[in-house]
Symmetry: C2
Subunit: 323 residues, 2 copies
C-alpha cells in the first residue's frame, strides 16, 4: 500500500467536509472564519518513547494525540474547529493505522472537530497535530492577566497519570484496579473544553496541566508578574492513589505531567459562580491556593501547609531536554 | 539549557507579534482573520534521512522547511500569514539551532509570515511546519477545476534537485559548478508565492511540484476527472543538466521530486496574459502539454513526442512508503 492509498484509506473523511470549505486532498484546506471571532492556534508533537510507550494501544494513542491539542483549546476558552495531522511511521501497518485513526476520529466526532489536512511519511513514530479553534474576540483565556489575591483553582483530581508512569517503569507497584484507573487517566485524558468555554467569563488566567501544576502555574506567574502559593492539604488527589504514602501522592499531584486538567485563576468574588459551574459540569473544581504580589528571592510557586508555613518539595516541571 | 530556555532563545521573536494578536508563550496563539477571506491551511513533515540528508547545513534546512510550506500557499493562490513549528531534536545543540532558526526566519521575513506557536521536544530529528494563509473568498486555486483542452504550464526549470540527489548517492557525478547550482535548487527552493497570487485570475487549477511533474499532475487529473499529455521536447530542463544524456535530463525533469515550481492549467485564451505574467515575474513560464477528456485504459499522464506519438518513461511519483 503506498502513501496516497494509506492517506485515502484511513484519514479521508467519507463525507464532504463540514467545518472546512475544502478538506484533505489539495495543496491546502480552505476554511471560512466567523466574523467577530479570533482564531486560537496551537501545535503539539508526540515522540515514541518520550511522550508515550512504543507499545501503547494505537486506538488510545490516536485519542490522546488529539486530546492534548483539544486541551490547549480548552485552556484558551476556544471552541475547537479543525486540526491537521503530520505523521511519521516506521512502516505502513494497516491494523495499527486503522486503530489509531479510529481513536482519533472518535474524539474528533465527540468535539465536532474536523481533520482538514495532513502529511504522512516514513520515519521514527512521531505525531504532530496542529489545532485551531474560534473564540469570541477579546474573550480568550490567557496566562498573562491573573490578579494578585486571585484564587488558584484546578479541575478534576491529580496524580494518577504520574502514578501510571511510575508503575510502568517499576518505581512502584499498583494493584490491578488502581492501575487500570491510573492508566486510563494517562492514556485517555479528557480535554476540558466545556469548562474552558464557561470560564471565559469567570477566570482571569488559565492553562492546561501538561508538565505538573508547580511548573505550569509558574508560567502564569511569569506572564502575570506574580507568584503563587499552593496549599498542600487542598490538592485534589486521585482516590486511586490512596494506598500510597501521602508524600508520594503529593509529589505526583504537584509535579506529575500529563494531567490535562485546567488550572485557572479567578477573583475571590467568583467563588460561588465557580462552585456552581463545577456542579453543572459534574467535575470537581478545587481552590488550591492564591496568587500574590511578586517578592524578591521567593520561588514563583511555593507550597505551604495549613498555617501558611513553607513546605519543600522535589523536582519541578517535566523538561523534555532535562537530564 | 532546558526546553523553555531553548524556545525562548531561538524561537521567540524579539518584537511583539505583528500578524498574530498573541504570539508564542501561551497555550495557543490568537489571530484575527480578515473578513471576506478564506484561510488556506497546510502541513508538511520533514524527517532526517528521508527528506534531507542528516548532515545538511542547518541554515538551509530551516529555510527549506518553511519554503516547502510557503510553496503550498503559492499553489493555492493564498498570501501566507503565519505558521507553527513542531521540532524534535536528538540534542539541544545551540549552534545548530541558531543556524536553523536564522534560515527559517530569513525566509519568514522575506514573505512577512510570523511564527505564532511551536513545540520542541527530544527525539529523532523531525520538523513539522503547519502554515496558514489568506485568500479572497472563492478565488483559491484548487486541483479540481481544470478544463479539457486547457494548457498545462510549469514555472521555472526542472530536474536540478533530482540531479543533486543522484550526485549525492553517487548515481552520477556532476562538475563543481553544475553541482553547486543543483544543490542550491535542492536545498534552497524558491516558493512561487507572487506567481500563485497572480494566477488566481488566470489558472483553472494549480499545484506545486514536490514529487515530480508526472505524479503531481496526475493529482490534477484525478480531481478534475481528466487526463493530461506532456510533450517531451517542451519540458524546461535546468541548463545545469546540459552535460547529461537527454534521456536522463528528461527522467529527472519528469519524475524528480523537490522542485517546488508551480504546475498549472489555464484556458488557451490566457496564453498571452500568462506570457506577460512570466515577464513581470522574471520567471520562465512554459507550456508543456494539455488536458484531455478521460479515456478508458489511458494513463492519467502520458508523455508524447512532437508528432503526438506516445513515449515511455520510467518510474512514477516519489512515494514515501514505496520500495
Amino acid at each position: 500500500m503506498n502513501e496516497f492509498d494509506l492517506i485515502k484509506r484511513y484519514f479521508n473523511p467519507s463525507t464532504q467536509p463540514v467545518v472546512a470549505d475544502l478538506g484533505i486532498g489539495d495543496d491546502a484546506a480552505l476554511f471560512t472564519p466567523q466574523p467577530g471571532f479570533q482564531l486560537a492556534i496551537s501545535v503539539d508533537m508526540l515522540v515514541s518513547g518520550r511522550h508515550f510507550f512504543a507499545d501503547v494501544d494505537p486506538w488510545r494513542l490516536g485519542y490522546k494525540a488529539l486530546a492534548v491539542n483539544l486541551s490547549d483549546m480548552a485552556a484558551m476558552g476556544a471552541a475547537p474547529r479543525w486540526f491537521t495531522l503530520a505523521l511519521a511511521l516506521p512502516e505502513a501497518n494497516p491494523a495499527w493505522l486503522a486503530a489509531f485513526s479510529q481513536g482519533m476520529f472518535a474524539l474528533a466526532a465527540e468535539h465536532q472537530v474536523e481533520l482538514v489536512g495532513g502529511d504522512t511519511t516514513r520515519g521514527p513514530l512521531t505525531i504532530s497535530i496542529q489545532i485551531a479553534g474560534e473564540v469570541e474576540s477579546g474573550t480568550a483565556l490567557t496566562r498573562g492577566a491573573a490578579g494578585a489575591e486571585d484564587d488558584v483553582w484546578v479541575s478534576g483530581v491529580l496524580g494518577a497519570a504520574a502514578a501510571a508512569v511510575a508503575h510502568r517503569v517499576e518505581a512502584l507497584s499498583l494493584a490491578e484496579e488502581a492501575l487500570a484507573r491510573c492508566q486510563d487517566r494517562l492514556e485517555l485524558p479528557t480535554p476540558r473544553v466545556a469548562l474552558g468555554r464557561a470560564l471565559r467569563h469567570l477566570a482571569s488566567a488559565c492553562l492546561d496541566l501538561s508538565d505538573g501544576i508547580v511548573g505550569d502555574l509558574a508560567h502564569i506567574c511569569a506572564r502575570s508578574d506574580l507568584r503563587a502559593e499552593l496549599v498542600a492539604s487542598q490538592l485534589p488527589i486521585d482516590p486511586a492513589l490512596a494506598v500510597l504514602p501521602l508524600s508520594l501522592q503529593q509529589k505526583f499531584a504537584l509535579t506529575g505531567g500529563d494531567e490535562y486538567e485546567l488550572c485557572f485563576c479567578a477573583p475571590v468574588a467568583q467563588r460561588d459562580a465557580i462552585a456552581r459551574l463545577g456542579e453543572q459540569c459534574g467535575l470537581p473544581l478545587t481552590r488550591v491556593g492564591r496568587m500574590l504580589a511578586p517578592q524578591v528571592g521567593a520561588r514563583p510557586v511555593q507550597l505551604v501547609d495549613d498555617t501558611g508555613a513553607t513546605l519543600d518539595f522535589g523536582q519541578g516541571a517535566f523538561d523534555h531536554f532535562g537530564a
